[in-house]
């Protein structure tokens, strides 16, 4: 399964679901809805956390959190 953590800078994907129920509410509220497009825009130094563009703004999260967001396979 491909997740947001697998994206390289500039890559994008469409959210298909979540693997962590507790985190999913926070992510949903922040606009990470199923079907929404995400683009990876930044890695922090050492590759973690990451920043994504979603629903028209920039959202940062740790890599392990990004790994709970499933996206469509290419």
């Amino acid at each position: 399964m491909r997740t947001v953590a697998d994206l390289g800078i500039g890559d994008h994907g469409f959210i298909t679901g979540f693997t962590d129920e507790k985190l999913s509410l926070k992510l949903l509220e922040m606009g990470c809805l199923p079907g929404t497009e995400v683009v990876l825009t930044h890695h922090a130094p050492f590759g973690d956390p990451i920043a994504i563009k979603v629903s028209g703004y920039t959202l940062s999260m740790r890599k392990e959190e990004a790994a709970t967001i499933l996206i469509n396979s290419i």
Partner: protein, 708 residues
């Protein structure tokens, strides 16, 4: 007088809520005790017209009414509880028009609670620059709500907002779509029967969030738990489904009310300033360099630029004291006024320039949106030490004062990360330690340049002390990470807001509020201790004071004038209450190189460390060998002779031992009280006090033994 109506300001972080609050209320604001970077609630008065005032309540920024961290809990505790003293008559939801959908999620939740609501659309100019045109009239109709377009930063559109608010207050109209997702009617009825007939969505809020709401007793909580079990209700599932459902609805609304010009022209996405700046600020190397540069400027300001106003304040207080001593007749009252009260107040005022500078920088970093980039690049590093990217703000603020710093940990979602941050924050050298450092460094470190003449040696030692505090905080955090157990995983899902020009009005309010809080809150303690100390040092048990005078006169029949009165004053101090206290603890502090005079200073500064310098000047002005030209505290201490060795008392060993002691010791009642308030348990302030005192004692012992 009729009760004035209350309005709550609600909105996402960075939606412009605080700017609007400032535009509406101006300087008529009341703040909590220690408004810090993250504030408690703020209230202010908004004049709608002559004799028509409204109380405005500014609440912490949230993304949804379901709280994820402690600062967010405040909102449901007020909005969810109609019996709360701050329960508003209506709400203004401030929405960032450039991110409309996400901002409307919160709006729809607040409205469904049954609170009359006005929607204030902010940052329409930003949205239009990005190619989005919003039809707010249509939006108002679709959501059946009063919509006001505002520019909170410039204060435009306030009249329209006034109208919308007045209309809503008059008809108290709260449109209510009922529940976002249906649940069984019996569930709602069960809650309404037990807890009162309120809107169904509010019932669900009570059901799902009762653990975080102070309005419910333990018994009521278990009642709600039983209802949940009885109806097989799963809060997590419901909240997620509700959020998706609300977004589905809002997507349709936004599609109908917003025109996307980019899509029509098929233009490539605009490269914004934020994108360009992030390339630099989030760069693996450049990002850190830039942050270091900012820190450097910040410290430069605090330690170099701030010294000018500080010297002026110091000189002013000394001048006032000399003048008073000149015109007032010698009396107990004169002593109390000059050496007790005014010296104490001077000790408070002197911090103002540094606190003002620090909060200027911190609030500028927050305002511009840069602070969240710092959290972003620091998270991975901080995590290794059991902290969190969000710990950067408390650690940075505690260079000014640990009290607002500890309060600003509320935004840290994970309990363990937050606790560790609270416990180690006071190890950062706060501004109260600075005068102690300054005096002691001036005494024991020669003033010369070093490292090819680039750095001043005294400045270098000062810088090392700050680094020492920081690394000790990291080290302690690492140990605590190994000891403390985590109940939940920490997370770091956070918006990186677009960069904005700072609102200087807001920055100046932040500075003003913090300085005010410091002067009045910390000031009270410091002044009180100064006066108590003066009394303790001026009086002794029984006739000891007269005995001391007579003893000296008998022992030194040849002395007279200044020399005699100095000897008498010294003997008096030794026999005063303070002297007895100091002597009592002397055996315990002897290994650190301290005598009973320093002992007095240690005791008094256990309540507030900034008292140290004041105590020293009180002690030495009462008992030292002084003449008027040589009256600064530094010179008095330099003149002090160690009676055992005959050499100057304040040598390297003692100086560094004291410096280390003050760097690590937990000597601040206000901080301990804040830790208690923020952790709701005596356990953590006690741990904090215990480990820091032990650390201070051991390190000072090692330093003294190594250097002497």
């Amino acid at each position: 007088m009729a009760k004035i109506p209350k309005i709550a300001l609600i909105g996402n972080p960075n939606a412009g809520k605080s700017s609007l609050f400032n535009s509406l209320t101006g300087l008529r604001q009341k703040t909590g005790n220690f408004p810090g970077v993250t504030m408690d609630k703020l209230t202010g008065i908004w004049e709608l017209g002559p004799k028509n005032e409204i109380e405005v309540l500014d609440l912490p920024g949230i993304y949804s009414i379901y709280p994820k961290s402690i600062d967010e809990e405040l909102v449901i505790n007020i909005l969810g509880n109609p019996a709360h003293p701050d329960y508003p008559d209506m709400a203004i939801v401030v929405a960032d028009a450039s991110n409309l959908k996400r901002n409307l999620l919160l709006f729809s939740q607040v409205r469904d609670l049954g609170i009359p609501t006005v929607l204030a659309l902010n940052m329409i100019d930003v949205a239009e620059n990005e190619g989005y045109v919003i039809n707010s009239i249509k939006l108002a109709r679709e959501l059946s709500v009063e919509v006001a377009e505002v520019n909170a930063k410039k204060g435009i559109g306030i009249n329209g907002l006034k109208l919308a608010v007045q209309k809503t207050l008059e008809n108290r109209f709260s449109s209510n779509d009922g529940l976002p997702l249906p649940v069984s009617e019996e569930l709602i009825t069960d809650i309404q029967v037990a807890f009162g007939d309120v809107d169904p969505y509010r019932c669900l809020l009570w059901l799902m969030e009762h653990d975080r709401m102070k309005m419910f007793s333990k018994a009521q909580c278990s009642d709600l738990d039983q209802i949940m079990v009885k109806h097989d209700f799963e809060p997590k599932k419901y909240k997620s489904a509700e959020t998706v459902k609300r977004y589905e609805f809002l997507t349709e609304v936004v599609d109908r009310c917003v025109i996307n010009l980019n899509r029509q022209w098929d233009a490539p996405p605009v490269k914004t300033w934020t994108d360009r700046l992030d390339k630099l600020f989030l760069h693996p190397v450049g990002g850190y360099l830039f942050f270091l540069a900012i820190l450097f400027v910040m410290f430069q300001a605090v330690f170099t630029w701030a010294t000018y106003p500080m010297d002026a304040i110091d000189a002013g207080v000394a001048l006032l004291n000399d003048w008073l001593k000149g015109i007032l007749p010698e009396s107990t009252f004169r002593g109390l006024l000059t050496d007790g009260l005014i010296a104490g107040i001077g000790g408070v005022l002197i911090f103002i320039p540094q606190i003002a500078f620090l909060f200027f920088f911190i609030s500028m970093l927050e305002e511009t949106g840069y602070m969240s980039r710092v959290m972003f690049i620091m998270d991975k590093l901080m995590r290794r030490f059991g902290l969190n990217g969000k710990s950067v703000v408390p650690l940075l603020s505690s260079v000014a004062c640990a009290v607002p710093a500890i309060m600003s940990t509320r935004s840290i979602g994970s309990r363990k990360d937050r606790l560790i941050t609270i416990l180690v924050t006071p190890l950062m050298s706060c501004s109260a330690r600075l005068p102690i450092y300054t005096v002691l460094i001036a005494l024991v470190v020669p003033e010369k340049n070093t490292l090819f003449g680039l750095f001043n040696l005294q400045g270098l030692v000062l810088f090392i002390l700050y680094l020492l505090g920081f690394f000790m905080a990291l080290f302690s955090a690492y140990l605590m990470k190994l000891i403390l157990k985590a109940k939940e995983k920490s997370y770091f899902i956070m918006e990186l807001p677009t960069y904005k020009g700072p609102r200087f009005k807001h920055v100046s309010y932040t500075i003003l509020n913090n300085v005010k809080a410091f002067v009045f809150e910390a000031g009270k303690v410091i002044v009180a201790i100064s006066i108590i100390l003066w009394v303790l040092a001026s009086y002794g048990p029984g006739n000891s004071m007269e005995d001391a005078t007579n003893r000296i006169k008998v022992q030194n029949p040849n002395l007279s004038g200044v020399e005699l009165s100095n000897k008498i004053a010294g003997e008096k101090l030794e026999n005063s209450y303070a002297g007895h206290f100091g002597k009592f603890i002397e055996p315990a502090i002897r290994p650190l190189g301290y005598d009973w005079k320093i002992g007095i200073a240690l005791i008094t500064s256990f309540a507030a460390r900034e008292v140290f310098v004041g105590t020293m000047s009180t002690i030495y002005s009462l008992g030292g060998e002084i003449d008027n030209e040589n009256a600064t505290i530094k010179n008095r201490m330099r003149a002090e002779i160690n009676p055992q060795t005959g050499k100057p008392m304040y040598d390297m060993a003692l100086g560094f031992s004291l410096l280390i002691f003050y760097a690590f010791a937990m000597q601040c009642m206000s901080t301990l009280a804040t830790t208690y308030r923020e952790t709701k348990s005596w356990k953590y302030p006690l741990i904090q006090f215990g480990y820091m005192t032990a650390l201070a004692y051991l390190s000072a012992f090692l330093v003294y033994q190594a250097l002497s």
